[in-house]
């Protein structure tokens, strides 16, 4: 069943240099218990897409389209109704655990915050729940560490606490924005392992935003490849790696160290000055005259495999 459906989502805002079209016509579905990965280069609008779901973008940002959560359009909810969704129904894990925790509050206080806000538990019950939660994300000596401050936690431990904070209200969906960035490789592996486990245990769906293909391969059921503001390829994880269709996906994979470290020529366009037609055509070796003029539509090329490219017409 579809938990979250994004329809024709457009996000744009005005900057001094012109209109920034961060998300263009994105359609996505996340089923219950499913993990969908969104991969793409830095600055392709992944994070903005994540933030727009929880309506955390600043007020001068225009968001159009529909974001259906359990059939309800989040973009139509009032701010108060939205607050009840945040943290309770849909939680977010941010990329930098170092700066995502308030330095002057204890970890316990912060992890307890969602329960206090949404379940109105008293201090004692909330604290018990926090300790239980910290235990489940493998923080050693949780009853002692709840009273410590974020600076007394290592990066990996802090990210574990962030995951605990995200999961404590048993949300149906977690949006994880680069949850492993900034951690060293062995810690990354532990966090990925942990996330895999807790998602499986709780049956929570996840939208994973990352540029780390390794992490995505470990965690995701399906993957969507994003290139300046739009999805260029959507498939299950096997197909993305074994059978990539879009020239950009292929280029992205070929740029991995294990696959020859071949960079894609050119640089990705800025969100202000997006090329006409297919957005990838200036960097694409298969580009034809048509690619410069027409915008390709998503084409079905296999079981749950869609690609936005004229090569498959």
């Amino acid at each position: 069943m579809t938990l979250l459906g994004i329809r024709n989502l457009k996000v744009y805002f005005y900057s001094e240099d012109g209109m920034v079209r961060a998300v263009n016509d994105v359609d996505l579905d996340i089923g219950e218990g499913e993990t969908l990965g969104i991969i793409g280069e830095t600055g392709c609008g992944k994070t903005i897409l994540g933030l727009s779901i929880l309506r955390l973008l600043s007020e001068n940002t225009k968001v159009e389209g529909r974001i259906l959560y359990k059939g309800e359009d989040l973009l139509k909810l009032s701010e108060d109704e939205m607050r009840k969704i945040r943290g309770k129904e849909i939680a977010m894990i941010f990329q930098n655990p170092l700066s995502s925790m308030n330095p002057v509050l204890t970890v316990g206080t912060q992890v307890a915050e969602p329960v206090e806000l949404h379940q109105h538990l008293d201090n004692q019950n909330a604290k018990e729940k926090v300790i239980e939660m910290l235990k489940s994300v493998r923080i050693p000596l949780p009853s002692k560490r709840v009273n410590e401050y974020p600076h007394e936690f290592s990066g990996g431990m802090r990210q574990r606490a962030m995951i605990a904070m995200g999961l404590i209200c048993m949300p149906s969906l977690i949006i994880a924005d680069e949850p492993t960035t900034g951690l060293d490789v062995t810690t990354q592996a532990q966090i990925v392992e942990l996330m895999k486990e807790v998602l499986k245990d709780s049956g929570t769906s996840m939208l994973l935003i990352t540029h780390d293909l390794g992490v995505a391969a470990e965690l995701c059921d399906h993957m969507a490849v994003m290139y300046p503001g739009e999805i260029v390829e959507y498939a299950d994880v096997r197909n993305i790696f074994k059978n990539p269709k879009h020239p950009y996906t292929r280029g992205f994979l070929d740029s991995l160290p294990g696959r020859g470290l071949k960079p894609i020529p050119g640089i990705s366009p800025s969100l202000i000055n997006i090329p006409e037609g297919c957005k990838f055509h200036p960097r694409c070796s298969y580009a034809t005259g048509r690619c410069k003029k027409e915008r390709p539509q998503m084409k079905k090329v296999g079981e749950k495999h869609f690609v936005r490219c004229f090569l498959y017409d």
Binding site: L54, L56, R83, K84, I85, R86, G87, K88, A91, M92, F94, N96, S99, S100, M101, N102, P103, V104, L105, T106, E113, P114, L117, H118, K144, R145, V146, N147, E148, Y149, E152, M162, M165
Partner: protein
């Protein structure tokens, strides 16, 4: 528990740094002594501060009257001791009021930005455009003399500095990721402001409030000196100065001792404020850690 242990160790650390700062410690000791004197004035003062003894007018300091007597034969030392009560009480109340006003307006201004920010900051500019003491003088003059009106006048001009400093700190704190993270957890604006932002902007508030204490005590004494503050026979340092002015050549102790009292109190708060600023300045803390 190590949790409370770390809390303690943080406070201990701050106190250790304070101990290293000799001037701040001197300030703190003086303030504590002043508070003690004010609190136990009836037990410490050798005489009744308002009891007149016309046989013993304008006596020089002696064994019975360590600071001499004034033109109505009142014990100057007792009056100065009771004066500490008036000045400290006034300082604490006014600083309390301006801290609440300044922090609230600063938080709102910095957090919401836009038109709200513009209105509050222009209001600050308007108040700051007048020299503070002159504006207080005008307000106290318009309201009529009296300690309460002096407090009101000082509160009305004193909150601007705090509002500005808090706004500035809020502007930088609200960009931090933990604020966004709090919003993503479903916190309301009020909750974010009071629970997440406020504790992060307290350090400059503490420093400024301490320094403001000194300013308020001095300003209140100044207004009383001009006859707008405490009315006789209330023992107030500023009005005692004014009272002794007429006898400055024949009985200089009448002006010297209240003047010294004001100076000591103001210096003490300035010393402590400066010391706290050095300790709470995050840049210096980083240097210490390195």
């Amino acid at each position: 528990m190590s949790g409370t242990g770390t809390m303690k160790s943080r406070k201990k650390l701050a106190f250790q740094q304070l101990k290293k700062n000799k001037i701040a410690i001197i300030g703190l000791i003086i303030i504590i002594s002043l508070a003690f004197i004010a609190l136990f004035a009836p037990f410490i003062a050798p005489h009744d501060p308002i009891e007149q003894n016309l046989d013993k007018r304008l006596l020089s300091p002696s064994g019975e009257y360590p600071m001499g007597t004034d033109d109505l034969g009142r014990c100057l030392l007792s009056r100065i001791i009771y004066g500490a009560r008036v000045s400290l009480k006034l300082g604490v109340i006014v600083v309390g009021i301006i801290t609440v006003i300044g922090v609230t307006l600063g938080l709102i201004s910095g957090y919401y930005g836009g038109i709200v920010d513009e209105i509050i900051m222009r209001l600050v500019d308007v108040v700051l455009a007048f020299p503070g003491i002159i504006l207080a003088l005008a307000i106290a003059g318009a309201l009529g003399p009296g300690l309460f009106n002096v407090m009101l006048a000082l509160a009305m001009v004193g909150w601007t500095g705090l509002a500005r400093v808090v706004r500035g700190s809020v502007l930088s704190v609200k960009q931090k990721e933990f604020v966004e993270s709090a919003r993503a957890l479903g916190c309301s604006d009020l909750h974010i402001m009071t629970r997440h932002i406020l504790p992060n902007v307290m350090a400059p508030v503490i420093v400024l409030a301490t320094l403001d204490m000194a300013f308020i005590i001095l300003a209140a004494a100044g207004l009383s000196f001009l006859g707008l503050g405490a009315q006789p026979p209330t023992p107030e340092w500023g009005s005692m100065l004014n009272n002794g002015r007429a006898f400055i050549q024949t009985a200089p102790h009448l002006t010297t001792f209240p003047g010294l009292a004001i100076m000591v109190a103001v210096l003490a708060f300035n010393f402590l404020g400066d010391g706290l600023r050095d300790i709470l300045d995050p840049r210096q803390q980083r240097e210490l850690k390195e």
